[in-house]
Amino acid sequence: MVLGQFSEKSKGFHIGQHVLFVLLSFFILLKMFSITSPPARVDYVYTALFLATILPVVYLHLYWVLAKLGRKKSLIVYVIALLLVTALFIWINIRLFDHWSVKLFPGFFFISYYKWWEVALFFFVFICATTLLKLSKSWFVVNRLQRQLLETDKQRVQAELKALKAQINPHFFFNTLNSIYSMSLDKDERLPGTILQLSGLMRYFLYESREDLVPLSKEIHVLNDYISLQEIRSDEKLEITTEMEEHPGEQKIAPLLLITFVENAFKHGAKGSTGSAFIKIKLITAQNTINFRVENNKGVVDKTGKDDQGGLGLDNVKRRLELIYPQRHKLLIENSDQTFLVHLQLQL
């Protein structure tokens, strides 16, 4: 849709609104001007003539004085222009009723029942009423545009989130499959159970994580499976401490948010460490808020440099937090020489 352009249908509707306004004005004025009931023929002529002097003022005001001069924010110029236009048509109204109508309508006899200031009052009422109509109409247009913009923005955000999720899955699976590959080379007997766990995770990633929100309990369950899976492939030097609630309630969370931090800890802590390593994971829920904390010591890989995939997961999750939980999250990352700490406070 191109804004500011009218389709044939809306153009017809636009013209219809003006026709309706003119007809409504005509019948209101006819009711006011008629001295007999039902109105006589002369009353129709009288009303038509009166309206013929009002309409130019109304439309000149709406489409020239207000539209052009109103934008310049010069109140004095606007008021002077409005007064000039109004004065001109008051003069035309008086001349029309007192003189010109004699030749225009020789078969009718009528006089103007209104003095110049009363005519001015009619003009004023019409100008005010039509300006309010115009402003209210503009308000509806602005409102509609705002809704369109919000809808467009929402669609953009959803597309971006979809793209971010698509980046998470391969990122995780590549790492996990690499681990399974290592286990198969070692002919590790825990391999079948590990594959089952991976299967469960894949189901979650591929199907259940398509939802905007998933139960927090499900996310925790997946997190535990993931940690178990990582524990299997880790050596004994890695000390993993988890403290997570088993039954957090009915709260929901965006899928795959927390796992990214855990994955990051395993990758940059456990994998890169040459000595004893630790990962501490803690999740506390309180009403609508969760506090999630992941701490790990840093391995040699992190001290020597950042690999090209290491920052991608964390950047993704930061962007997702901004999109899904704007003003509702606090993410604290402490990157010291020895440890890496992530503290996420999230308002669900």
């Binding site: 006589a40 023929r41 002369v42 009718f108 006089i111």
Partner: protein, 226 residues
């Protein structure tokens, strides 16, 4: 009331046998009244002799003033300050017909350089001693409202022309819905009374005063000075 209403509104019709327009309001007000002494004097139309005098010097005013002094109850032409201003520049028309002495007040005004007269019946007194069929004052007593007839005046030498507004034409326009003038219609007596204000009447004549359709030869009366 209606018995009184009819002769009061129809004085001009009765006298000149014209179809004049009757208005509830005076065309002339104390702010628009003018004097033109060319209309004063004795005038004749067929067998009717008419006397026109300025109100302040009229025999009618002297008569009611002396009647007031003697304590008799008579209707005064001066009801208010505005009336005083209006009538002090107006004229009394008097004539005799059918054993009655008629008095009418005539106020003049200029509209677009033309001279217009507003004629209002004032009183009608019997010429002879009142009898059962000939009451004291035809217009006095009872509740009635006098109405006004409007005419355009031309003074040409010894002639005074009254172009009385054609009531039939105006009524026809009102009936056809081609004229917008405030009016009341009495279906019982088939009379139409224009109720437009003095200002509206003036505005109407200012716009249509030179339209020949408003007048007719039947409604034109020529008085000769004698």
């Amino acid at each position: 009331m209606n018995k009184k209403f009819f002769p009061i509104t129809a004085v001009v019709v009765m006298i000149f046998l014209t179809s004049c327009l009757t208005s509830l309001h005076n065309l002339v007000t104390y702010t628009t009244v003018v004097s033109d002494d060319r209309i004063t004097g004795n005038w004749q139309h067929d067998d009717l002799i008419m006397k026109i005098e300025s109100v302040p010097t009229s025999s009618f005013l002297k008569k009611i003033s002396s009647a007031k002094d003697s304590g008799a109850e008579k209707k005064s032409v001066y009801d208010s300050k505005e009336d005083s201003l209006l009538y002090s520049r107006s004229y009394i028309i008097q004539f005799s017909k059918n054993n009655y002495q008629y008095y009418m007040v005539c106020c003049l005004t200029h509209i677009c350089d033309d001279l217009y007269a507003d004629i209002e019946p004032l009183t009608a007194e019997p010429l002879n001693k009142p009898t059962e069929s000939n009451t004291d004052d035809l217009f006095n007593g009872g509740s009635y409202t006098t109405t006004h007839s409007i005419a355009k005046l031309f003074v040409r030498g010894n002639e005074l022309e009254l172009h009385i507004l054609n009531g039939d034409f105006i009524k026809e326009q009102l009936k056809n819905g081609t004229a917008s003038v405030r009016y009341e219609k009495d279906d019982l007596f088939a009379t139409t009374l224009i109720t437009a204000s003095s200002e509206e009447l003036r505005q109407f004549l200012s716009k249509y005063g030179n339209d020949e359709r408003l007048y007719s030869s039947k409604n034109t009366i020529t008085l000769k000075k004698i």
